[in-house]
Every structure is written in structure tokens, then in C-alpha cells.
């Protein structure tokens, strides 16, 4: 009993460190943000404004446009990225372990590269002049020069393409791990039943990796809703707010206009929307998932 107490004490001591870190760097900011969302924040003395910040947010047309942009961005980026990752993972799987690692490392490379550096490279790819890399590529197919980031027609698509390619690596690593965990007896049984490659993917692989898919969908949507960096660095939200995401709107509200109260209100509304989406996805897609 005494030994148990001693061990528990050590457990508590070591839990204390991350717990304190969590309280100071996560819980405290979230609670502070909630408090500030009801204030007109001023460094030398804030004043309570009740629900004004929330009312202003709901009255602001740009907030809805930003939400719509974020939704479009997430709805396209997440499934496309997952489908590509799933396909690439399946293609990688038959290779020897070493070759698998080479592919995984190659696809994971963008995830470890600085987002700012990647943005610079993508800006070069999207160079609007005829000398731009992508414009040279589309010219081969007989298409005219495109103003990729400067046109409302292509700006969002350009950001989505960039996000899909930059985010593949992480999904591939997780999918490959899940695929490697499938017992070979399932494939053998499918072979005996005469299943084709696509039937094996449809009836063996896909159901087994469903927990992974659910996990990637939920985290992907959360990341999509919180996306900020690409729009901030590549388009600044333009043209005509076609790429203003909720994250960028919140950033601008706080750091351009010093309206921290409204920014906090917007951030909390966004958090609530993300939570609803996450719960819905979990309920809809994880009914038959076993962990």
C-alpha cells in the first residue's frame, strides 16, 4: 500500500509538469479569449460590452464570406488530399521496405519544410507572367496565360492545390502504417475467393482502414478550418476577399485593427463550428468503426 502511494506520488509529480504547461499555455488563453470576447479590449483597461462583439460579427458580411471560403477550402482539400494519399499509399505498399521509406520520405518532405519557404516556391510556380512555371506548363496544353493568384476564378483553386500537395506526406505516413497493419490472411482469403485488386481495396482494405480515415477526416477538417498561413502569405485574402479564410479574418481583426474583443468572439464562433463539424463527422462516419 505504501509502495503504491509512493508510485502514485511520482506519477502525480510527472503529470504536474504537462498539466501546468497545459493550464498556462492552453486553458488560460482559451478562458482569457472567452472573457475578452465580451470586452472592448484595451491594454490599459478594458470595458465590458456584453454581446456587442458577437452581434458585430454576425452583422459583418465578410465573416460569412470568410466562413464560406473556409468551408469550400476544407470540403475540397480534405477529401482530395485523403483520396490521393490513400491511392499513393496503396501504390507504395508493394515495394520493398527501403523503397517504401524513400517514397514516404519524399512525400513527407513538404511537411518538414518551412511553410514560408514553400509559399515562396509556390509563388514562383504561380508567377502570373507568361514566364511563370505553371503558365509554361499550361501553354503546352494550348491554354492561355493564367493569373493564378490574382484572379477570383483561380485564386482559391491555387491555394487548394498547394495545400493538397503540401499535406499529402502526413496522410500517406498514417495510411501506410494502417495498411501495413492489415493481416495478410485477409488478402489470402480474398485471393481464394477470386477477388480482383479493386474488390480487395473496396471490401478488405477500405473497411479496415476506416478508423484511420475517420481520424484523418476529422483532423483534416479541423486543420482546414484553421488554415491561415497560405492565404496570408500567398494572397493576403484577395482578390476581392476570394481567399479570405476565417483564420485570416480573425488575424486581421486582432492585429490590423486591434479589435481583440471581436477577434476573440470570431475565434470562439469558429471553434464552436469546428466542434459541431467534428461531432457530426464522428457520428456519421464512425458508426461501425471499432477501435
Amino acid at each position: 500500500m505504501k509502495k503504491m502511494k509512493k508510485e502514485a506520488m511520482w506519477a502525480y509529480v510527472f503529470i504536474l509538469v504537462p498539466l501546468c504547461t497545459f493550464i498556462v499555455f492552453t486553458l488560460y488563453p482559451v478562458i482569457s479569449a472567452a472573457v475578452i470576447s465580451f470586452q472592448k479590449y484595451r491594454p490599459l483597461g478594458s470595458e465590458w460590452v456584453g454581446l456587442d462583439n458577437y452581434i458585430n460579427t454576425f452583422k459583418n458580411g465578410l465573416f460569412y464570406k470568410a466562413l464560406k471560403n473556409t468551408l469550400v477550402y476544407s470540403i475540397i482539400t480534405v477529401p482530395v488530399s485523403m483520396l490521393l494519399s490513400f491511392m499513393i499509399s496503396i501504390m507504395i505498399l508493394p515495394f520493398r521496405k527501403k523503397l517504401q521509406s524513400v517514397f514516404k520520405a519524399a512525400f513527407y518532405l513538404p511537411a518538414i519544410a518551412s511553410g514560408v519557404a514553400l509559399s515562396f516556391v509556390w509563388k514562383w510556380i504561380y508567377d502570373p507572367l507568361p514566364s511563370g512555371l505553371l503558365n509554361n506548363v499550361v501553354k503546352v496544353f494550348g491554354l492561355s496565360n493564367q493569373n493564378w493568384l490574382g484572379s477570383q476564378k483561380t485564386a482559391m483553386l491555387s491555394l487548394i492545390i498547394m495545400a493538397v500537395f503540401a499535406g499529402l506526406g502526413q496522410n500517406i505516413i498514417i495510411y501506410t502504417a494502417a495498411l501495413l497493419g492489415i493481416d495478410s490472411t485477409y488478402y489470402e482469403a480474398a485471393d481464394i475467393d477470386g477477388a480482383t485488386f479493386f474488390q480487395k481495396v473496396r471490401y478488405v482494405v477500405w473497411p479496415i482502414v476506416k478508423p484511420t480515415t475517420v481520424f484523418l477526416t476529422i483532423t483534416g477538417v479541423i486543420n482546414g478550418f484553421q488554415s491561415f498561413q497560405n492565404a496570408y502569405l500567398m494572397t493576403g485574402g484577395g482578390p476581392d476577399n476570394a481567399t479570405t479564410m476565417a483564420g485570416l479574418l480573425i488575424f486581421n481583426r486582432a492585429f490590423t485593427y486591434f479589435e481583440y474583443g471581436e477577434a476573440c468572439a470570431q475565434a470562439l464562433i469558429l471553434a464552436a463550428i469546428i466542434a459541431v463539424f467534428a461531432v457530426l463527422q464522428f457520428k456519421l462516419s464512425s458508426g461501425d468503426v471499432e477501435y
Partner: protein
Amino acid sequence: MKRKKMAALGMAAVMTLSSLAAGCGGTDKGGSSSASGTAAEGKKDVVTALLPPVSATYQDKINTYIEDFNKENPDIEIKVTTASWEDVTQKLDVQVNAGSPPDIAFIGSSGVTKYLDTDMAVDISKYLEEDQINDFDENVLNYFKNQEGLYGLPAYCEIQCIGGNRELLETAGIDWKAVQKDGWTYDEFREAIKKGVVKEGDQIKTYGFLFACAGVTAKDYFGIFVKNAGMPEAFDKDLKYAYTSKQMLTFLEDLRALIDDGSMPKELGSIDAGKRWNMMLTGQTMITGKGLSSFEKSAYENTEKLKNNDGSAVEGSIPVEYVVLPVPVFEGGNQQAQGAVDGYICLTGEKNPDEQHLKNVAKVAYYLASSERAAQTCQELYLKPVCESGRTAYEKLPPIENKNEDNTKAVESLTTQIAEARPDIPADKGAAAIKIQDEVIMPKFQGLLAGEVTPEEMYQAIVDAGHAAFGEAGCVSDES
């Protein structure tokens, strides 16, 4: 075993304490100045300053400046934190929002209202001597005023205009000296840049005019040009929102026409400042914007590198002699120049400094903005100082070699045409206008440049936003 456990416990305690300390590290107030100025007798009053690289050698020279000041003022100590141009605003904003800004920060005067709104900007007019205030050119000093308060001192006034490649201008038959002297109308400018377009087959080899308009830089194009379209400020003298005037519609149609003519690239909205300058040096444009007088130095240095076969010259660049040019005048407008007035704003925070400390802050701000400091900084930026003491010191400096005298005269002339500062605009109105600019004008302007928003649509959006923010009676209406 016991020792190991003790060590582990010690480590855990240290980590816990350090994380707590990091999270609660607000008591030091960012190492800012002593709160009570000269509270403790015999103790030096510390004045803190946050400074970006104002000119190429500014951050090197600042230590000498401080050393000299500290010697002459044994009761005051200046402590400087330097930051890059990219970081300085963010650093300052973080400190402001923590309630502990530096006593002095180098910012653009357009940021005065922003810090005024936080109640942290200090009115230094009562801490400065009259001759110190009178040292500065009145209109330039007014850029740091709001209502009756003076919140900072200007270091320089940079003329934001446009600039051309001399050889290409002359090839196109443009009398650039006359333009420098007399300015030009929109129609003259439009014709000139049409002549500057050089084609190779279907491809345009050289554009007549190019302005960096990617993201927020579009703000400069709009802001600099609108001054010459009869709307030098967002508010007229009666404090009515001016951009709802019909002149705005004509102005927008004129800007769009320059792209439709083929004189400017249709991809303008994606060309950033770096690419714009690169295109200037590689001969892909005859006239560039925005132009600063210091670009003459940059172009000259690149040309020298080319002459000396220096590999660090811009790839594909050609010798360029940079010519300062004024912005054209639109119908209903007058020749004016956009002056970017930057300088030293004075701030206070939770530390509640005493009067003596604030007096010391004002003294340091004046020291940094005047005499040799102003002269040396301005000379490096190819500008004339904006204070008398600076001009006196400037005359004693060795003259700049290889300076284009026509450019010098043009900049001096443009300096006299700087749009009048508007300290009469109340901070809340100014903030509302900035919000319309950022949330309506700039997004629509990007759409206009991309050819996806018509001038009429953009104008209507401005009118709607103006009416929503200031009421119809608070906006200029051409019908009335």
C-alpha cells in the same frame, strides 16, 4: 536510487517553475524603462527605443549616437532594441498589447491613430521646447499630430512617386525633364506609357508602366494616385467622406483603362514589389511604381556591378539610369505628392511614468530626429532633412557622388507638393475610413485590376460602405 529520485524530483520542480515563470512573465514588462523615471535619486532614467534599420547604416550608427547622448546627458540612458522592418511592427504591437511598449518607436505616421486608440501615445508637445518644435517643417510635423496633440517627431519625408528608365523614356520620345518640372496630365501619361510598350511578336517585351499591386501593395497604387484625383484624403475639409464623390468613378475608370490599353500587365494584381523592381532593372518596364528617390542609388549600384562583371548584379539586368517622375494629375485633381512621413512616436504603458521621464523621452526623440542624425539618415535615403538643424548638418556632409541633379531638383519640388497633413480628422473617423479601405476598397481594387470587378461596381461598393459608416450626410455627394 534515492539520489536519482531526488534528481528527477528536482528536475520536475525546475520544469514546472520555469513553465509557470514563462507563462506569467509579465511582471518585468518586457524590460522596459524604469517606471518612475528618476524616482530613485542618483539613478539614471532609462529611455527605451525600438528601432528598425531606418537607413542602410542606421543600426550601426545608432550606438555612436547613443554613446554621444549618454555622455552629454549623464542622468539619462538610452537603451535601444533593434528589429528588422519585417518584425518591427509586430514587436511593437505585442509590447503595446502587453501594456508595456518602448518609450520611443520608429513608425510611419499613418500608425499614429492606431496607437492613439490604445491610449498609449504620449502628447509630447508639452515636454518639448518651442524651438525644438519649430525646428521641424510644419506640414511634415503635422503628420504626427492628431487634433491638438503631437505624438512623435518626423525623421524624414520620403516622396512616393513613380520612376522611369531614362534610356527607354528617351527612346519613346518622352521629355522627362519637362515632366519632372511641370508634371503631366493623365492623358499625357496614358499616351506616354502607350509609346513605351515594346512587343516581340505577340509577346510584350517591355510594358509602359508597372506598379507593384500584389496583396497589400495595391494600397500604395490606389493611395498615391488618388491624391492627384481631387481626393487628397479620405475626408474633405468638412470632414465628409470624400471617396463617395463621382470623381472616384472617373479615377477608377482611368486606372482600369491603363491595363486595357496594354500599357500595364493584366496580371498586375500578382506582381509584388520585388518583382516590380526586378522588371525595372531587366528592362521589362519603362516606368515603375511606387518609386522612391533612393531607387536611383539602387539602380546605379546595379549598373556599376554590371560594368564590373560582378556576379551579384540582378540576373538579366541592363544598365538603368533611374529618373524620378511625378504622378499624373487626373481630371479634377491638382498636382500633389504622397509623402511617407516616418519618425519617432512616443508611448507610455502601465508603468505610469512621471513627468520628468516623459520629458526625457521627448528629449531623446528630438535628439534622434534632429541635427546630424537626421542629416546622415536623409543623405543615405537621398532625401533632404525635414528640420532646420538637420539641413544645417546636411550642408556639412560630403556631397553624394554621381547623384543625378535633375532627380534632386525633382524630389525637392515634389517635397513642396506633399499633401497636407490632416490632424483635424478625429481618430474614430480615421479608423472607420481605414476599415473601409481594408475591407472594401482594397479587395474591390484587386478585383478591378484583375478585370473581374467593374469601376461602377467598385464605386458602388465604396458608396454603400461610406453611407453605412458615416451616413449619407457624412459623405460627399456630387448631386448636393
